[in-house]
Assembly symmetry: C2
Homo-oligomer: 416 residues x 2
């Protein structure tokens, strides 16, 4: 492969302007965005992206999950395309960069190639995956999950939002249910640029995260049942305080994570206390423990420690406990060649970089199952994401997109 020269750079002003233009569609209430999947705003964003792509000479394909594939031809008619992209949908109170940066960076690559009249052997396809966020229709990464055969399309179509509207109906309503069979496309490689959604790059002052793995995840919903009782008239020895049981399990969860340092993490983000009244000892607490590690054996070990330890805590307190696994995916190891292309690009361009494990799920995590895949990450302020205050600097966006550009173009092979 012919690597591009280090003087080849994207136009960061143009990229930034496009991000800001896209952010005008489905504005949030606090400076971010509310452009949830298969809403009118999602449709409007798709039209703008399509217009930009067509202005850049790309031709569109849309699959039956609504995923958009914007193609720049390659010199070799038989070469599989290099795919690059992410998602344009946002959380209900989302930021301007999560997902959007990755899609518009793909477009900026095309624009730069056009500027410089560079041809590649492999076609390049800029991709906007449908419903990455999973807020309106859980689970997240829905269309890429169907693409990678993790879910069936019929099941996805039947998912309902909070108002009982079906995903398939809404996709049709906004006019983006395409004809292509999902997953039929074969890829030479897939690259995704994304903001880190964590604090490491900013704190360590690195421009680029070279994502080597995606963490596996286990979501265990725990129900601890004791006995509702009056906080005043129930002596301490007669209490079955489900809230205190929950507290001791949270301490255990923290210990389990630290005992699998440095890459394992765990916490409970969701906790519902019943009846949640100031003068009633909680009779029931339902909470979800989120445990992650890039190593499958570690996740399994953590799950076992949680099950045994939490059971013992509850037995000792006369509480009942039930476990339900409500979510999970296996750790991801990204493609060695694609990861090297990202790392080499950062080196060549003089950007500081470090290996990262993606803590969040991304479309790339599913696509990695069906194509050689890698991810580039850039810092975000304070690690903040899924929040209207999400922020990045134009310099960070430039560095990430430059690296993405070099990785994609090296993989797509410049034709001299």
């Amino acid at each position: 492969m012919a690597a591009p020269g280090e003087n080849l750079r994207i136009n960061s002003d143009r990229l930034w302007d496009s991000i800001m233009e896209m952010a005008k569609i489905g504005p949030g209430v606090a400076g971010g965005n509310n452009r949830q999947t298969v809403t009118d705003e999602d449709g409007e964003g798709r039209h703008l992206f399509r217009q930009w792509c067509e202005e850049a000479g790309l031709t569109m394909g849309v699959d039956q999950m609504g995923t958009m594939f914007m193609r720049r031809e390659g010199a070799d008619p038989d070469a599989l395309p290099v795919y690059v992209g992410s998602h344009l949908d946002t959380q209900p109170t989302g930021g301007k960069y999560d997902g959007v940066l990755g899609v518009l960076a793909g477009l900026e690559i095309i624009r730069t190639l056009n500027d410089l009249d560079i041809k590649t052997k492999h076609p390049i396809v800029v991709t906007n995956w449908t419903n990455e966020e999973g807020t309106r229709y859980a689970p997240a990464m829905l269309a890429s999950g169907v693409f990678a055969d993790m879910h069936t399309q019929d099941w996805a179509y039947g998912l309902e939002d909070a108002n009982g509207k079906k995903f398939g109906d809404e996709l049709e309503r906004i006019g983006w249910k395409g004809e292509e069979t999902v997953g039929d496309r074969k890829m030479h490689a897939f690259f995704e640029l994304h903001i880190e959604q964590g604090p490491i790059l900013e704190i360590e002052e690195k421009d680029i995260g070279v994502v080597t793995h995606g963490q596996g995840l286990s979501w265990m919903q725990i129900t601890v049942t004791g006995k509702d009782a009056h906080t005043g008239s129930t002596p301490m020895p007669m209490r079955k305080n489900a809230g205190l049981g929950m507290a001791r399990i949270l301490e255990l969860v923290d210990k389990i994570a630290w005992s699998h340092a440095p890459d394992a993490v765990a916490a409970a983000g969701h906790i519902d206390v019943h009846p949640n009244s100031r003068n009633v000892i909680p009779g029931k607490v339902v909470f979800t423990v989120d445990m992650r590690s890039p190593n499958l054996a570690t996740i399994e070990d953590m799950e076992k420690q949680l099950a045994e330890g939490a059971k013992k805590i509850c037995d000792d307190m006369g509480l009942e406990i039930e476990f339900e696994k409500v979510g999970g995916f296996d750790p991801v190891t990204f493609d060695e060649g694609c990861v090297a292309a990202v790392r080499n690009a950062a080196e060549r361009l003089g950007y500081s970089h470090k290996n990262l494990i993606s803590g969040a799920g991304h479309d790339a995590c599913w696509i990695n199952r069906v194509a050689p895949t890698a991810m580039v990450m850039c810092p975000c302020v304070d690690g903040l994401s899924h929040n209207e205050a999400e922020d990045i600097s134009q310099e960070w966006a430039r560095a990430g997109t430059d690296v993405l550009f070099h990785a994609v173009v090296e993989t797509a092979e410049i034709v001299e």
Copy 2:
């Protein structure tokens, strides 16, 4: 004082029938009652009670807080009345016995005195205190609190329910705003029978609780603030997990209560986690710690330990903490003479009994500030209350009412 003979007993079938008749007004959805204060149902219950009282020869006074005072004359025109009663209002999903038993037991005393043609030196006044429950209009024990000069009447009138309706307006609407100035009545004594709302009597197989004290209470609302962050992409050392801080404080609360054994109790019944999403480390937790003891110095010591200990926990974790005292009342020591009258009655009648500290608040706790007061408790199944499944046996009601009868009549002095 002339004590009544041990053969003087109330008519437990008549008492039980009246309880069941009252329970038909404002029925709940699961066998209990929803007869909240100053609703149409409350008005209907008051009319039935008034009718029964007038059939028993009592005359009615109603004060400006709507509290009903149903009077049986005494032989001595200068003697202050002995008051007996509780409240007819219920929780939205309340039981048939909480409060109601105490009011109708007062009526049963009158009916039995009438049956036996017994006269007392002191008048006896059966009382139905308005808004003991405090669910529709917080705080609890509202009318007795105004009676005991703990709140002003104007403030009570201005309280709003969840629909913005004012207490004073609703009291007038149902036709029970009386003329009497609240708190003008002087009392020789006040007795209240109530279900225990705790498990001790049933577990220890005692018929009667002789209530010597009311626990003092401290409600401390604690806000722990950390930092919302993604559960996957935030390394353990960079977390500020407000949920874990809350868990450690709950453990501390438990330790503080046990270290003040045997009478102190503490727990957190109300816990709200923000943003309460499975994949977001909690950035904020707001919860209320309920601590009680019959000893004021103990409560103050517990509050100090909580403030210092919770602050240290949060300091060590890089969390912010704020405290707000959102409720409290001082411990109550009931009148020695009235308590003795209750204990002597139980002894005389051959009922097993033990001293109890009331963990819950009751109208008697406020009235004790302005008159010699005591309480009788009877067991309830499983300690359950503020719940439609609340239950007692007719035998428990009989024993409690017999003891109340003897204590009231001994204090009111039988005229031979």
